[in-house]
């Protein structure tokens, strides 16, 4: 499991720029990101190189932020790779709450939040998927 930070951002022009400026100034590098949006606000979910530092920086700046653990799986960067994971989860009655991805050299990393994380991890390992841990912060 890897540490993901979720940040509340009002859905208005300029808000993301203020946020990214803060991260840049504090030399925090974003490894992966996704935004879920509604009419008035969005939830930005990020994997960063230094989650502890990032959490402190955001709290200090009065952001509404929470930490969640998500599963990171490395797959080959080729057609059908995501399907294997989606099928594995679906066949075993695990609901994917959200999913996003990022790239690393020659491979893709899939980030998933599921309703039964322990069961999902067990299945992925059994099927010999490459589940990532702390190394994700350094990709």
């Amino acid at each position: 499991m890897v540490r993901q930070l979720s940040v509340f951002l009002p859905n208005k022009p300029g808000i993301l720029a203020i946020f990214t400026e803060l991260l840049g100034k504090n030399s925090i590098n974003i490894r992966a990101l996704t935004v879920a949006d509604t009419a008035d606000y969005g939830i930005l979910r990020i994997i960063v190189d230094d989650p502890t530092k990032c959490l402190n920086v955001l709290k200090e700046a009065n952001y509404l932020v929470s930490e969640t653990e998500v599963i990171a799986v490395e797959v080959e960067d080729k057609p059908g790779a995501l399907h294997q994971i989606a099928k594995l989860m679906g066949d075993n009655g695990i609901n994917i709450e959200y999913i996003y991805s990022t790239l690393k050299a020659g491979a893709a990393v899939i980030l998933i939040r599921v309703n039964k994380p322990e069961k999902a991890l067990e299945l992925l390992k059994k099927e010999s998927f490459k589940v990532l841990g702390d190394e994700i912060y350094k990709i």
């Binding site: 993901q4 979720s6 509340f8 009002p10 939830i43 979910r45 009065n62 509404l64």
Partner: protein, 438 residues
């Protein structure tokens, strides 16, 4: 264990109903005569309707007297309502009127003495004594809050810190170093202080506060709970308005079951704000007060527009002085949204009942074709989720709760922490955008 009740003026504070009625009747007749003879405004108004002071014989006769409104004070700005020449006035205060000219009031030497006596009773009613250190964070100046508390707290022999409002960092430093036990300010400022301490990681246990006396704006019982939990104090409601003297008209005793009105100095009434008809005990309406002892600017049946209910039962604290229910809202603050009456304080009361909603919120009314009510709330960190479905479920819960309890549909919007303006003085929680569109 028996509760402790302190009294500044035990004799007057423990008068029974019959004794209070006798005092009121006697004083009412005198003040009516005084107004008729000394205030041209009242003289003219009495003559216009053929009323003579002799027609007011009993307390019940009070309904014969016309209601005095704030506009009457404005029309006679600045000193036209005074009953004595300025040579007899030793102090001027003015209301914090945000629109138009301020409402001006003048005090004779005796008025200052009476006010001090009433503030001494008021501060002592929640068991504040000479042992206490009172940090007075009400503004000093034309506003009556600062000086009113100052004189009253000094009178009971408490140690007064006249810090006035603002400069939160300094307020906290003084509270820590001087070991203040009582904080007096607006309820919204007390929350502002609590939030500031939380953000700065200042331990609440580093303070010695035990009581807060909060007034000058309506606040709900659920907000009281938030303040009490945040500052580890007893939060007491106090009521007053500059037209009547300032703070010191009424206050809660430790029972927190309504605010005792000092009836030897004021006759309270509840009227229907639309028809001006007097309403009975336990009926909700606008508060009206007649001052019984004021010399500088006596007022007969002055309409406050504050919505409350009166209760004349004897209280557990031993006082018979009538209790007014915590002010529910102001008749002129009342919003009419799609034909439904909405009191901002009721919205607050309902919002505070929902876990996850912080005390920072804003009510926005706009008009498209129909009125649109939007409530902006800041979500507390514990309830912030990475899942939109959780956040939308919370939003839905708030909307359903408001619909069920206020019979009105409101759109709830989430706002970023700190984005809703915090207040130091009176809270600006309502924005009515319809005014520009009529």
């Amino acid at each position: 264990m028996a509760k402790r009740y302190e009294y500044w003026n035990k004799e007057m504070e423990l008068k029974n109903r019959k004794e209070l009625d006798e005092i009121q009747t006697k004083r009412l007749r005198a003040i009516v005569k005084y107004c008729y003879e000394k205030v041209p405004f009242y003289n003219k108004r009495f003559k216009e309707i053929g009323l003579h002071p002799d027609d007011i014989k009993t307390k019940e006769d009070i309904v014969k007297i016309p209601i005095t409104k704030k506009q009457d004070l404005r029309d006679n700005y600045p000193f036209g309502m005074f009953a004595v020449p300025l040579t007899e006035i030793v102090r001027i205060h003015a209301s914090s009127g945000t629109t138009g000219k301020p409402t001006v009031v003048g005090y004779t030497k005796n008025d200052i003495e009476t006010w001090t006596e009433l503030m001494a009773r008021t501060i002592m009613a929640p068991n504040v004594t000479k042992e206490d250190i009172v940090q007075n964070a009400y503004g000093y100046g034309l506003f009556t809050g600062g000086l009113g508390f100052h004189y009253g707290a000094e009178r009971i022999g408490a140690t007064v810190i006249p810090i006035s409002g603002g400069n939160t960092e300094r307020q906290i430093l003084i509270m820590q170093d001087f070991k203040s036990t009582v904080l007096t300010c607006t309820p919204s400022y007390s929350l502002f202080i609590a939030e500031y301490m939380k953000n700065q990681d200042i331990d609440i246990e580093s303070l010695s506060l035990r009581v807060g006396i909060f007034g000058a704006e309506p606040w709900s019982d659920s907000l009281r709970k938030k303040i009490e939990d945040a500052l580890h104090i007893d939060a007491i409601d106090i009521y007053g308005l500059s037209e009547l003297c300032g703070p010191g008209v009424s206050v809660e005793c430790p029972e927190k079951a309504g605010l005792h009105i000092w009836e030897d100095h004021f006759i309270p009434e509840i009227i229907n704000p639309e028809t001006s008809e007097q309403l009975g005990e336990d009926e909700q309406g606008a508060l009206v007060f007649t001052t019984l002892t004021k010399e500088g600017i006596p007022l007969l049946r002055y309409l406050t527009n504050d919505i409350s209910i009166l209760n004349y039962e004897k209280c557990n604290c031993g006082r018979w002085h009538a209790r007014m229910k915590k002010v529910i809202g102001r008749a002129d603050d009342m919003l009419i949204v799609r034909g439904i009456n909405v009191f901002p304080s009721e919205v607050e009361y309902q919002l505070m009942k929902i876990p996850g909603v912080s005390e920072n919120y804003q009510i926005i009314v706009d008009r498209d074709i129909l009125d649109i009510l939007t409530i902006r709330v800041e979500v507390t960190p514990e309830y912030f989720s990475d899942k939109i479905s959780d956040m939308e479920a919370l939003k839905d819960k708030i909307e359903k709760h408001l619909k069920a309890n206020l019979q009105i549909h409101a759109n709830v919007e989430f706002a970023a922490p700190g984005s809703i303006e915090r207040s130091i003085g009176k809270a600006k929680r309502v924005i009515d955008l319809r005014k520009d569109k009529i």
